[in-house]
C-alpha cells in the first residue's frame, strides 16, 4: 500500500481532548496553520471520566487557563448544570469553583469552536506513524495512508494510546467509552526513541435515572449566587439540576471483599500504576479496612439524558459483581446499569524528559500534553495543552518561550512538578502542591496571568481594557479604605458587638476594621458611607489584600528568594558525573533532568542540600574561571 502527501501544517496536534483542544486553539490563534487530529469526530472534548469541570485546585487551573486566554472556562460556563464554590469559609486560598456540566453539550460546543477557528483544521484520522525527515520536518502518517508534514507536533493522546480496558476477567484493546484506541502510534514513538510506560485510571458505572430511588437521599444544591469560571462570562450561570448523596455499607464491603480476587488490579492483570487520589472502591476498602462506609454522589450527565454518574464508585470488578454491590447502596437497590464501570490502562511518558515548554529535550519540535505526560484530569490536561500550543507557536514564530514559574500560577507549579519531580502516578493538582497558595488564588488569576495572555495575543483588547479598569478600581478602593476614618457611633458599635469583636470609642480607619477576621465588607456597609458602587470582585480583592496582608508579604518575600535561585543558571552541557563532591544519586538525577538553574535543581528528589552547596561552589568556580 502506498502513502500519499496529504498536506502541510505549521503545527499538528494529535488528539482533540482537553489538552489537544487548548493546544490547537492557542497555536491557530497565534497565527500558525494548525491541524488537530481526532480518532473519532464525535469524541472531541469528550468527558469520559466524570461530568464536571473544576474542583479543588482544578478550579484554580480553569481560572488560570481562562486568564491566559484558553477556552475551557468559557465553554464550561456555557454548559454548566450546577455551580458550586467549594470551601467557602475555609479561606480564599482554597476557594475552588466546580461545575457539573452537560457532557454532550460540552463536546458539541468545543467541537464547533474548533471548526469555527480561523487557521485551524479539525480532521478525523488516526495517526499511526511519526517520524522526522532529514530537514527536521515531522511526518505523520494516518490510518488512511495520508502523510502530513508539520514543523511541530503536539501529542495529546489521553488514554487512547495503547488503551486497554479491564472489567473483571474481561480485557480488550480500547479507548475510553468504547471508542477505538490508538493502536500503532505507541510503537512508532518507541521506535523513534521515546520511552513509554503504563498508567491506569478508571470510571464508575452510569445508571438509569428512573431506576434510582431518590426519596431518602440527601440533596445537594448549587450555590447562589453563582460565580462563572471565565472573566468573559458576564451573565451569571444558572443552576439547573441537583445532585444526591448516598453511602456504601457493610454489605457493599462484604461483596467486594468476597470478590477481590476477581479484580484485575489484585489479580495482577493490570501492570499500570493508578493514582492514589482516584482509587477504585475496592482500593478504598482494602486500604482503609476500618472505614465502615464510603460516600458517593449521584450526578446527572446532562439535561437530555437519563444517565447518572456515581462519583466515588470506580471499579474494575466483573460486571455482575458491580451490579450486586451497587444494589446494596441506599437508593440504588434497583439501579439499572447503562454503562459498567471500567479501568483503563494506557501509554504515557516520563515527563522529566521534557523542558518547561513541554517540548521533548531530545526531540526538537515534538511536544506533549495531558495524560500522555503523566498527569490526570481534564483541567491539568487543558493547562498543559495551552502551554504546549503557545510554546510550539512561539518557537515557530521565532519568539521567546513562555515559561511560567511556580510563583506565577498553578499551571507553572504543575509543569515544574512534572518536569522536575516526574510522576510516579497520574499527577493531580491539589492546593497542597503550591507553597505560594495564598498568592495563587482563584480570585486573582486575571491579575497574575491576563497581562501575559494579552502580550501573547490571546486576550482581546476589549477584555484587556475591562481588566485594566478593574485593576485601577482595586488600587483606588484600597487607597480609599486606608484613608477613610469611621467615626464611633451607635451603629458601628452594634455591628462590632454583634460580630463579637471589640468595640471602639474613637475614630478608626476602615482598613483597621477590615483587618479583623470577624468583619467583612458586607458587614461594614452601613457605616461605610463613602463606599463607591463597584463590582463585588473589586471589593473582594481589596478585602483579601487587607486581611491577609502579612501572609501575602511573607509569601512575596519567599517568591523573591526562589526567583534568586532561579537566576543561577546551570549550563546544559555540564556532565554532573565530573562534578566532584556530588553524591552518585544526585549525579544521576541531575544528568537525567538537566535542570535549567539551581532553583530547579534544588527541587529534584534525590538532590540533597549538600549537593546544592556543592553545585553552588562548582558554579562559583566556573564563573571565576570564565572571568
Amino acid at each position: 500500500m502506498s502513502t500519499y502527501k496529504a498536506g502541510h501544517y505549521d503545527i499538528a496536534v494529535i488528539g482533540a481532548g482537553h489538552a489537544g483542544i487548548e493546544a490547537a486553539l492557542a497555536a491557530a490563534r497565534l497565527g500558525c496553520k494548525t491541524a488537530v487530529f481526532t480518532i473519532n469526530m464525535d469524541a472531541v472534548g469528550n468527558c469520559p471520566c466524570n461530568p464536571s469541570i473544576g474542583g479543588t485546585a482544578k478550579g484554580h487551573l480553569v481560572r488560570e487557563i481562562d486568564a491566559l486566554g484558553g477556552e475551557m472556562g468559557r465553554t464550561a460556563d456555557e454548559c454548566t448544570l450546577q455551580s458550586r464554590m467549594l470551601n467557602r469559609g475555609k479561606g480564599p486560598a482554597v476557594h475552588s469553583l466546580r461545575a457539573q456540566i452537560d457532557r454532550r453539550r460540552y463536546s458539541t460546543v468545543m467541537k464547533h469552536k474548533l471548526e469555527l477557528q480561523e487557521g485551524l483544521d479539525l480532521r478525523q484520522a488516526e495517526i499511526t506513524d511519526i517520524e522526522r525527515d532529514e530537514s527536521g520536518m515531522w511526518l505523520l502518517t494516518t490510518r488512511m495512508l495520508g502523510v502530513f508534514s508539520a514543523k511541530a507536533v503536539i501529542i495529546a493522546t489521553g488514554t487512547y494510546l495503547g488503551g486497554r480496558i479491564f472489567v473483571g476477567e474481561v480485557s480488550y484493546e480500547s479507548g475510553p467509552d468504547g471508542i477505538f484506541p490508538s493502536a500503532f502510534l505507541g510503537d512508532s514513538l518507541r521506535k523513534l526513541g521515546v520511552k513509554t510506560r503504563r498508567f491506569k485510571t478508571g470510571t464508575p458505572a452510569r445508571v438509569k435515572r428512573s431506576s434510582i430511588d431518590f426519596s431518602e437521599l440527601e440533596v445537594q444544591e448549587g450555590d447562589e449566587p453563582t460565580v462563572p469560571f471565565s472573566y468573559d462570562t458576564l451573565t451569571p450561570v444558572e443552576n439547573k439540576i441537583v445532585c444526591h448523596v448516598s453511602w456504601t455499607n457493610e454489605d457493599t464491603k462484604q461483596i467486594i471483599l468476597d470478590n477481590i480476587h476477581r479484580s484485575p488490579l489484585y489479580s495482577g492483570m493490570i501492570e499500570g500504576v493508578g493514582p492514589r487520589y482516584c482509587p477504585s472502591l475496592e482500593d478504598k476498602i482494602v486500604r482503609f479496612a476500618d472505614k465502615k462506609r464510603h460516600q458517593l454522589f449521584i450526578e446527572p450527565c446532562g439535561e437530555d439524558t437519563e444517565e447518572m454518574y456515581l462519583q466515588g464508585m470506580s471499579s474494575s470488578l466483573p460486571e455482575e459483581v458491580q451490579t450486586e454491590f451497587y444494589h446494596t447502596i441506599k437508593g440504588l437497590e434497583h439501579a439499572m446499569i447503562m454503562r459498567p464501570a471500567y479501568a483503563i490502562e494506557y501509554d504515557c511518558i516520563d515527563p522529566t524528559s521534557m523542558l518547561a515548554t513541554l517540548e521533548f529535550k531530545d526531540f526538537p519540535g515534538l511536544y506533549g500534553a495531558g495524560q500522555f505526560n503523566g498527569s490526570s484530569g481534564y483541567e491539568e490536561a487543558a493547562a498543559q495543552g495551552l502551554v504546549a500550543g503557545i510554546n510550539a507557536a512561539l518557537k515557530i514564530r521565532g519568539r521567546e518561550p513562555l515559561i511560567l514559574d511556580r510563583a506565577s500560577s498553578y499551571i507553572g507549579t504543575l509543569i515544574d512538578d512534572l518536569i522536575t519531580k516526574g510522576a510516579n502516578e497520574p499527577y493531580r493538582m491539589m492546593t497542597g502542591r503550591s507553597e505560594y497558595r495564598l498568592i495563587l488564588r482563584q480570585d486573582n488569576a486575571d491579575e497574575r496571568l491576563t497581562p501575559i495572555g494579552y502580550k501573547l495575543g490571546l486576550i482581546s483588547d476589549e477584555r484587556y481594557s475591562r481588566f485594566t479598569l478593574k485593576q485601577e478600581q482595586i488600587k483606588a478602593e484600597r487607597k480609599r479604605v486606608a484613608e477613610t476614618v469611621i467615626a464611633p457611633s451607635k451603629e458601628l458599635s452594634e455591628i462590632l458587638v454583634s460580630r463579637e469583636t471589640s468595640d471602639v470609642t474613637t475614630g478608626i480607619r476602615l482598613i483597621d476594621l477590615l483587618k479583623r477576621p470577624e468583619l467583612s465588607y458586607e458587614a461594614l456597609a452601613p457605616v461605610d458611607k463613602s463606599r463607591p458602587d463597584l463590582d463585588r470582585a473589586v471589593f473582594e480583592q481589596v478585602e483579601i489584600s487587607v486581611k491577609y496582608e502579612g501572609y501575602i508579604k511573607k509569601q512575596l518575600a519567599a517568591v523573591e528568594n526562589m526567583r534568586k535561585l532561579e537566576t543561577k543558571r546551570l549550563p546544559d552541557d555540564i556532565d554532573y558525573m565530573n562534578v566532584t563532591g556530588l553524591r552518585l544519586e544526585a549525579q544521576e538525577k541531575l544528568n537525567k533532568i538537566k535542570p535549567l538553574n539551581i532553583g530547579q535543581a534544588s527541587r529534584i528528589s534525590g538532590v540533597s542540600p549538600a549537593d546544592i552547596s556543592v553545585l553552588m561552589i562548582y558554579l562559583m568556580k566556573q564563573n571565576k574561571r570564565g572571568e
Binding site: T431, R433, R583, S613
Partner: protein
C-alpha cells in the same frame, strides 16, 4: 579528583601519649612513602586500604620518630580521598617535626576544618554531621564532646522528627480537608490545632533552651572572681586551675590586671577572670585594674564573691554584694581555717548559694562545684540531652518555633485555616532544613496515607 594533598596534626596540639598527623589527597600515599620507611620494607603504595605498618619517619636522612602508618584508600576514608595517618609519639616537638617532614615532602598545610570540608564535599557527611564534627574538634570538655556525638548519631534528628511528625499530621489533615471538601474527612477544630501546636512549640522551645545550655557545656561560663583585696581570690584561682598563674602574695592589691583561665570542673568549663580586688585606691595603676574589674562584673555570667571568714563584712564587701546582685552568683567564705568573725546571716539574705572553703588547704572545691551546678541547673543539663550546637541550627529552630506561634496566634484571632496551613508547612520546611532533608511531597504523601480520599 584533582585536589592538592593536605596535612595537619589531627589530635590536640598538646603533650599526649600519641599524636596523629593526617595526610589527605591524591598524593597522600606517595608523599608519605617519601618520609616513611616500614620495618618490613613494604611501601605504603603497595598496601591495601585499612592496613597499617610499623616504621620510622625520616627527614633529610635523619630519623625523627617511630610511627605507625595507616593507609585508607578513596573513597573509604574520613575525607573520601586517599589518606595516610601517621601515629607518632606524642611530644609537641616530635609531632611538629613529623608534620614538617610531610610538608617538606610536598603536602600543603590543611586549613582549619578542611578535612571535614572535604569529607562534606565528597558526600561523606551531611550538613549536620559536618557541623557536629566541627564542634567535636572545638569542644573543650568531655560533656560537650558527648553532646556533639549525640547529634552525629541522629538524636537531634530523632527529636526533630517527632515534632515534625505532629506538624505533618496536622498539615495533612488540613490539606485533606481543603482539597477534598466533599469527602468524609473528620472535622478539625481550632482547639485541637492549638493544643498540638502549643505542644510542638514547647518542644521547640526546649530545644532552643538546650542550645543555651549547650553553649555552657561547650564554651564555658564566663566567671568572675570578685572580692576585696587579699580575700584569697588568686589562691582560689590557682587551686581551680591547678597551677600557679596569678602572683600570690599577702600584700593587698597584688593582682592589678585581669587574669583569664579556662578550667574544666567535672563536666563544666569556667572561663575564670581573677580581678583586681575591688577597693577605693590611690594607686593609679591599681585603680585601672579596679575599673576593669567593675566592668568585668557587669558582663559576667557567674560571679564568685569571695569573703574573708576571719574579718567582718566591710563597706567594700557590701559594694561587691550589690554589684553581684543582677548576675547568678555564689558567696564563697574563704579562709575557714582561720577563726571566724564574719556574720553569715547577712550573706544568707543576698545569696542562694554559700560555700565555705579554705583555698589554702584545698578544702571545699567539691562543694563549690556542686553549688555552680545547682546555680546553672547543670544537674538537669544531662549531656545525654539532645542539643543543637550552632547558630545555624538555632536560628532554624527559632524560625520553626516562630511559625508555630504565628499559627497559634492566627488561630486565636480566628484566621481562616488556609493561612494556618501555610504557617505550619513553613515550620515543617524549616525543620526539614535543620535535619538536612529535602522538603518533598511529604504533606501530600501523608494526605493519602492518612485519609481515604478521591472519587
Amino acid at each position: 579528583m584533582n585536589n592538592k594533598t593536605i596535612a595537619a596534626v589531627s589530635t590536640a596540639k598538646a603533650s599526649a601519649g600519641i599524636s596523629v598527623i593526617r595526610v589527605s589527597g591524591d598524593g597522600a600515599i606517595d608523599i608519605s612513602d617519601k618520609i616513611f620507611k616500614s620495618k618490613s620494607g613494604t611501601k605504603l603504595s603497595d598496601m591495601k586500604g585499612y592496613t597499617c605498618a610499623l616504621g620510622d619517619v625520616y627527614t633529610g636522612g635523619e630519623r625523627i620518630d617511630e610511627c605507625i602508618a595507616t593507609v585508607f584508600r578513596e573513597p573509604h576514608s574520613y575525607t573520601g580521598e586517599n589518606v595516610v595517618e601517621l601515629s607518632c609519639h606524642g611530644g609537641v616537638y616530635v609531632t611538629a617535626a613529623v608534620l614538617r617532614a610531610v610538608l617538606d615532602a610536598g603536602a600543603q598545610p590543611a586549613q582549619a576544618g578542611e578535612f571535614t570540608k572535604r569529607a562534606f564535599l565528597n558526600g561523606k557527611l551531611d550538613l549536620i554531621e559536618a557541623e557536629a564534627v566541627m564542634d567535636i574538634i572545638s569542644s573543650r570538655s568531655k560533656a560537650s564532646a558527648r553532646a556533639a556525638l549525640e547529634i552525629k548519631d541522629g538524636a537531634l534528628s530523632e527529636r526533630i522528627d517527632g515534632i515534625k511528625a505532629v506538624l505533618l499530621d496536622k498539615a495533612a489533615h488540613l490539606n485533606a480537608w481543603a482539597d477534598y471538601p466533599e469527602e468524609d474527612i473528620p472535622e478539625i477544630s481550632s482547639e485541637e490545632l492549638i493544643s498540638a501546636l502549643t505542644k510542638a512549640g514547647k518542644e521547640l522551645d526546649d530545644i532552643i533552651k538546650s542550645y543555651d545550655n549547650g553553649r555552657i557545656l561547650k564554651d564555658g561560663i564566663d566567671t568572675v572572681l570578685a572580692g576585696k583585696p587579699n580575700v584569697g581570690k588568686s589562691t582560689l584561682m590557682n587551686l581551680l586551675a591547678g597551677f600557679d598563674k596569678s602572683i600570690v602574695t599577702s600584700v593587698a592589691g597584688t593582682t592589678r590586671d585581669i587574669v583569664e583561665e579556662s578550667v574544666a570542673l567535672d563536666d563544666i568549663v569556667l572561663n575564670l577572670s581573677d580581678t583586681a580586688g575591688i577597693r577605693t585606691t590611690g594607686d593609679e595603676i591599681e585603680s585601672i585594674g579596679v575599673e576593669k574589674a567593675r566592668a568585668k562584673l557587669e558582663t559576667a555570667a557567674l560571679i564568685l564573691c569571695v569573703f574573708d571568714s576571719s574579718k567582718e563584712l566591710s563597706d567594700d564587701d557590701m559594694e561587691i554584694i550589690d554589684s553581684a546582685a543582677d548576675a547568678p552568683s555564689i558567696a564563697i567564705i574563704n579562709k575557714t581555717d582561720l577563726p571566724s568573725k564574719l556574720d553569715e546571716e547577712k550573706l544568707k539574705d543576698k545569696f542562694k548559694e554559700i560555700v565555705r572553703m579554705s583555698a589554702k588547704n584545698s578544702d571545699g572545691v567539691r562543694e563549690l562545684i556542686e553549688a555552680i551546678k545547682r546555680v546553672y541547673a547543670v544537674s538537669d543539663l544531662d549531656s545525654n540531652l539532645t542539643l543543637i550546637y550552632n547558630e545555624r541550627q538555632r536560628s532554624l529552630t527559632i524560625n520553626a518555633r516562630n511559625c508555630v506561634h504565628e499559627a497559634i496566634e492566627a488561630l486565636n484571632i480566628g484566621m481562616t485555616f488556609d493561612a494556618i496551613t501555610v504557617s505550619i508547612e513553613e515550620a515543617i520546611a524549616y525543620l526539614c532544613e535543620l535535619t538536612g532533608e529535602r522538603v518533598t511531597d511529604e504533606v501530600v504523601d501523608r494526605v493519602f496515607h492518612n485519609f481515604c480520599v478521591g472519587k
